[in-house]
């Protein structure tokens, strides 16, 4: 009995392993919105998915100014290239990430920290405002099906190119991913 059942168990185990997110190859999707002309990049890798979506500077300024936030807060975003970002857990277990561990790499090879949500909140508090919910949560431990979204801010001018090195942990093991040749949105939409 046991002898005949063993191969099928092995087959099941093999099938499980092959379909496990942890063993699947990284998948990069790059899209361009035909209406806005904005680019987005999404990488699904070992159960963690990260997507960055370009946003025009005027749009970001409008998001903050339409909430009645002080002009100083709106101005504070102008030095940054801002992306809509979505982090998803597709692992089948618990994942964690920390934006403080992530780095962007400029064409000169220099690595730079990303400004985190607590850093934005601290800065805005001094200006008498708080819109921290708009920024991607800085340190998250989340479960299958969970996702976090918010702005990711990169201290670069419009149109700049860079790579993003990001990391996450799963079952106590740290993984690293890279989104290459990302571009900040241009200052203005292209003329049609």
């Amino acid at each position: 009995m046991q002898i005949t059942r063993l191969p099928s168990r092995r087959l099941c185990l093999l099938a499980l392993l092959l379909t496990s997110p942890a063993l699947q190859a990284a998948e990069l999707t790059q899209t361009r919105d035909p209406d806005s002309g904005l680019m987005s990049w999404k990488k699904q890798d070992r159960g963690f998915s990260l997507e960055l979506i370009q946003l025009y500077p005027d749009f970001v300024a409008a998001v903050y100014s339409s909430r009645g936030l002080p002009p100083a807060v709106v101005d504070s975003m102008k030095e940054y290239c801002v992306f809509g970002s979505i982090a998803q857990n597709q692992s089948g277990g618990t994942l964690a990430y920390r934006v403080a561990d992530w780095r962007y790499v400029t064409p000169d090879g220099q690595q730079h920290r990303l400004k985190t949500k607590p850093e934005w909140v601290a800065e805005w508090k001094k200006l008498g405002a708080d819109f921290g919910w708009s920024i991607l949560p800085a340190a998250v431990s989340f479960d299958t099906g969970d996702w976090a979204q918010g702005f990711t801010t990169v201290h670069l001018p419009p149109g700049s190119r860079f790579d993003l090195i990001y990391s996450w942990s799963h079952h106590g093991k740290r993984y690293t991913g890279k989104l290459e040749n990302l571009a900040c949105a241009p200052a203005k939409p292209a003329e049609r």
């Binding site: 899209t31 919105d33 209406d35 806005s36 904005l38 987005s40 997507e51 979506i53 946003l55 025009y56 005027d58 749009f59 409008a62 998001v63 339409s66 909430r67 009645g68 809509g84 979505i86 998803q88 708080d130 819109f131 921290g132 919910w133 708009s134 991607l136 949560p137 340190a139 998250v140 989340f142 479960d143 299958t144 099906g145 969970d146 996702w147 976090a148 979204q149 918010g150």
Partner: protein, 185 residues
């Protein structure tokens, strides 16, 4: 205050909403993930932090007053795309479980009743459950909310038994089943 009168008086909120809509095409068009339908069971379940927050009409709602009910506590804001997408499903869930000890409490973050009123009028179905106001985001940190939307399901004994971070399709059969199980207990 009658809805029509309130709507007329809320010209400023309307302007704000119109502004948001005008600047929102790119935001609204973001290729957001599908609403998921998983719930994370919290083991062990932990006591839900109590709160007392006003609704649209200024009436105070205290979580502890709902003891004996299963409560879906949802932290959200009008400008948050997945929050907007999931809210109709919360109303549909509420309608499915009408007559049973089930309550939805949607806690708006840092917005005014005027702006929320204008927003909810555009939803189909429009929410009939209480929308509460955490104007200075004092309640959200006590619940460990890191981002919007985040939802919790509280059992009849006032314990948080499920958490969901990110948008959910709350009337998905899996979630309905989980809530019905809690209602049986």
């Amino acid at each position: 205050m009658p809805a029509r009168l309130r709507s007329l008086l809320n010209a400023s909120a309307l302007c704000l909403w119109a502004t948001l809509c005008l600047v929102s095409p790119a935001w609204a068009a973001l290729p957001l993930p599908e609403l998921s339908h998983t719930l994370t069971a919290l083991k062990p379940a932990k006591a839900a932090p109590d709160f007392a927050l006003p609704d649209l009409d200024g009436k105070l709602h205290r979580l502890s007053d709902y003891r004996g009910n299963v409560v879906l506590v949802n932290f959200w804001a009008t400008w948050c795309p997945p929050c907007r997408r999931e809210m109709p499903s919360m109303e549909r869930l509420s309608q499915q479980l009408k007559g049973q000890p089930f309550v939805v409490l949607a806690i708006d973050q840092q917005e005014t009743p005027d702006s929320v009123f204008v927003f909810t009028g555009q939803l189909d179905p429009s929410p009939t459950f209480p929308i509460l106001f955490d104007r200075d985001s004092a309640v959200a940190p006590a619940w460990g909310v890191l981002g919007l939307p985040t939802s919790f399901i509280v059992d009849k004994g006032g314990r948080i038994v499920y958490r969901a971070m990110g948008g959910r399709d709350f009337d998905h059969p899996d979630i309905v089943r989980a809530v019905r199980e809690l209602l049986k207990k």
